[in-house]
Structures are given as C-alpha cells and as structure tokens.
Symmetry: C2
DNA sequence: GTCTATAATTGGATAGAC
DNA sequence: GTCTATCCAATTATAGAC
C-alpha cells in the first residue's frame, strides 16, 4: 500500500492560489520568501492522502468522491487535507500525475535488439503484475480516458504519443526484419494494453464469470500464459510457433 | 443518434415511489386505477431523455452529471424530467438496463456447429461496429464495471455469467474437436471484449496516438483486420494459418 | 500545522398552480 | 403533463483561533 513520495511536489504556500484566482485576482508571481524548502517528514502525510485519494477516485471518480471521504480514509481532518492540497481538483490532478509515470514505465524497455518474443512476453507479464498489484491505478487511468482525459490531454499528446511513436518504430523494425508477422504497430500496442488492463478494470466482471481475479496466484499465471499465447502465436512467424 | 424505445418501461405513476420510500412509508401495492396504459406518444419523450442521459452519464458518470444537464440536453425542464423518472438513480438504472441487452446480443450467436474461424471473425466485427456506432454505450458499461457494478451486479451474476458459461462450453468443444488451439474459454472471451471495447472506451487515447478513431472508415477496416488476425492466427490450428 | 466553526454554492427533489 | 418557485441536504472551501 505504500506509495513512493511525490516527485514534483510544491510547498503548501505555493499551491494556495486557487481561491485568489477564482476571486478574479491575477496569480502574483511574488517570489516567496522561503523558497528553498526541503520535503522533510510532512511528505509522509501528503503520500498518505494521495494513496487514500487514489483508492477512492479510482472507484467513484472525481465527482463520486468527497474530500471528506478522502480525509477520513487518510485519517486526517478535512481542513487539514485542504492545507496540503489547495482544492479537490488539485488533489485529483496530483494523483493522476504520479500515475502517468508509473504507467508508461514498462513500455520504455522495448528496443530493436531484443528478441521480440521475449520482449513482448515480458511486457505482458509486467503489465499484468501492475494490473494485479495496482488495480486502482489502472482504473483511475481508465476513468480519466473515458471522460476524454480533460486533465491529462496535454501529457497524452506529448509524453505518451511520442513514446509510443518511438516504440512503434521498434515494432515496425521487427516486422521489416521478418521477426514478427505483419502487424500495424499501433494496433499491437493497443491490443497489449487492452488485454492486460482489462483484468484490473473489469475485475468485477472477471470475478463474476471466472470466479477468481488476479489476486489468486494460480489464476494470475493462467492469465499470463493465455494472454501471451494469444498475442505471440498470433504475431510470431510460423517457424517460431511450437505446435 | 436515435434510440430504440424502452422495452420495459413503467407508467410514471407506478414509478413515483421513491419519495414515499425515503419518507419511511412502505411501498403500497395498491392496484392503480388505470393500469392498462398504453405507451402512446409520450414514449418519445422518455426515449429522448434516455438518449440524453446516456450521452452524459457515459462521459461523466452518475455523479458527474446533474439532472439539470440531462434535462437541458433533452430539451425538457428539470421537473418535467422528474415526472418521467422519479429520481436520478432510476434514470441511471433505466439507461443501464436498456444497455445490457444490446450488449450481450452479439455473443448469443455462437454455436458449436459454426466454423470457429468464421464465428469469431464475425463476432469481432460486430463488436467493433458497436464500438464505432455506440461508443457511449460501451463507455457507460465500462464506467459501471470500474465502480464495481453496484447497480448491475445481480444481472451480472445471473444473465451474463450464465450466457458466458454456455458459450464457453461451445469454445471448449471447438478446442476438444481440434478446431481451435488449446485456449481457456474465459480468457478468450475476456480477450475479445477487451480488444474490441478498447477502441470505444479509450477513443481519446487512440486518437492521440493513431490520429484517427473508428469513425474513420479506413481506420475501422484496418482495426477489424488487425484484431481478427491477432486473435485468429493465435488460436487457430497451424494448418489454417495462411502464412 | 491543526482544529472548530461557518460561509457559500450546488443540485436533487417537492409543492402546487395551471 | 408541464411549469415556477422553493425547500433541503450535501459539499466545497474559507476564516480565524490555538
């Protein structure tokens, strides 16, 4: 349940600008007197709040969750929470930001020198581990996408699509060199995401139908195996297919 | 944009029980004096409201949408809307119910006599057509799942899981008879859903990365082709694989 | 940094005229 | 069936003491 400390935090003072904005005043860049603040142990509380927020936002969304609930779950008072995060939306965005980075990590591994079969099998396993261990992260990401990613659109267009563009080039290279069957790289990436994230996002449905979820060790391995075979024996050149 | 008329509607009078319930009174089954009411043209309005509700709920969820917004979009007053649907939650559930049926339809087609390759290829296309033509339906369904399907759980356990159980038997039969590679039926079903619904639920992401969505005719065909090949050439016996 | 009010607003739902 | 005018509960956010 422990979450890594926020990378791009701000001191509470820096953050407290929303009220002023809404009141019509311009945000004054007035160089704050004590800029060089170090994280210290108050970072802990921020993390606890962020973890609690993730748990709730990922189930009920931004509007389905009240700051009161988050505060209760993080075991702080509501006003104390609002000391650390100027308002609800900022809290939500903070959670999302922390997420995106975790989210893209597994994809960075791909490179043209690797054996595609190994690389893709490994990627599937890593993504399924995330679906198992951080299903809330997966759900929140999904929620945000469904809503049109209003708060993540910029990052989507920049970070994510450039990363995918680079990795698609790797896949295309695998295809050109004959190590993969012809496949449109984008569709393969979408397919990998869909197949792995589904087990987190639709966990209730999986539970209702299969009677188990990824939390069950045997079911987890069964899932890894099935998804890998589905994808690989579909995209690998026939020679590599066992039987 | 037109939606089919509701199948299992109730007359407004029958429906107006929530307030009484909340006030602590038992819902009285008092035989309403004019039970045999026919739909007439007021059904139109219900449909318009349901369509508007689907559009908004599927983006912003139950809590992210106000009845005011739905009313505005359906071009009726808020109180008029509340004449047709006793309260917000009932409206939401009505939308969901209409959906589930549409949702399961394509799956009913499967039967053991069919050629698995044809059956599955056809299923993929039908599901992608739905993702293209009714992305909002797909999104709402996804939203509901993520939240743990509090309002659909019963139907999930009954209707959906029994249907899937039957169709899994068909898949298992295909495997036994050697017409499909060994695959765990449930995982194949999950995979088919994941691969096809992804293009509706994550349309923004698809747009950000591929620059197009299923609305683009060429991209649609490209998608059908890629998903079909991914799945089929993975689960069909090698002999059936062209190259 | 943390707390106890409380201000301010939104939004679901009802009453009652027409 | 439809409207206007409210009521009322839930929540976000702020003020100000400690």
């Amino acid at each position: 349940m422990a979450r890594p400390p926020a990378a791009n935090r701000k001191t509470p003072a820096e953050v407290r600008t929303r009220a002023a904005e809404r009141a019509g005043k311009k945000t004054v860049p007035a160089a704050s007197p004590r800029v060089a603040r170090r994280p210290r142990q108050a970072e802990d509380k921020r993390s606890v709040i962020l973890a609690a927020a993730l748990g709730l936002f990922s189930r009920f969304g931004l509007h389905g969750t009240s700051v009161d609930q988050v505060a209760a779950r993080a075991d702080v008072s509501k006003s104390n929470l609002l000391y650390y995060f100027a308002n609800k939306e900022e809290l939500y965005v903070s959670v999302l930001r922390e997420l995106l980075h975790v989210w893209l990590e597994p994809l960075r591994g791909f490179s043209a020198e690797q054996d595609p079969r190994e690389a893709i099998a490994g990627y599937i396993r890593r993504k399924l581990v995330i679906s198992r261990d951080r299903p809330d992260a997966s759900r929140l990401f999904c929620l945000e996408m469904i809503q049109g990613a209003p708060l993540l659109r910029d990052e989507l267009d920049r970070e994510l699509s450039t990363l995918v563009a680079r990795k698609s080039e790797v896949i295309a290279e695998w295809v050109r060199s004959g190590r993969l069957r012809p496949v449109a790289p984008h569709h393969l990436v979408f397919g990998l995401w869909a197949l792995t994230q589904h087990y987190a996002d639709f966990a209730v449905q999986v539970q209702a139908i299969a009677g188990r979820t990824l939390q069950d060790a045997a079911f987890f391995e069964e899932t890894v195996d099935n998804v890998q075979r589905l994808v690989l024996d579909g995209i690998c050149v026939p020679a590599a297919v066992p039987a």
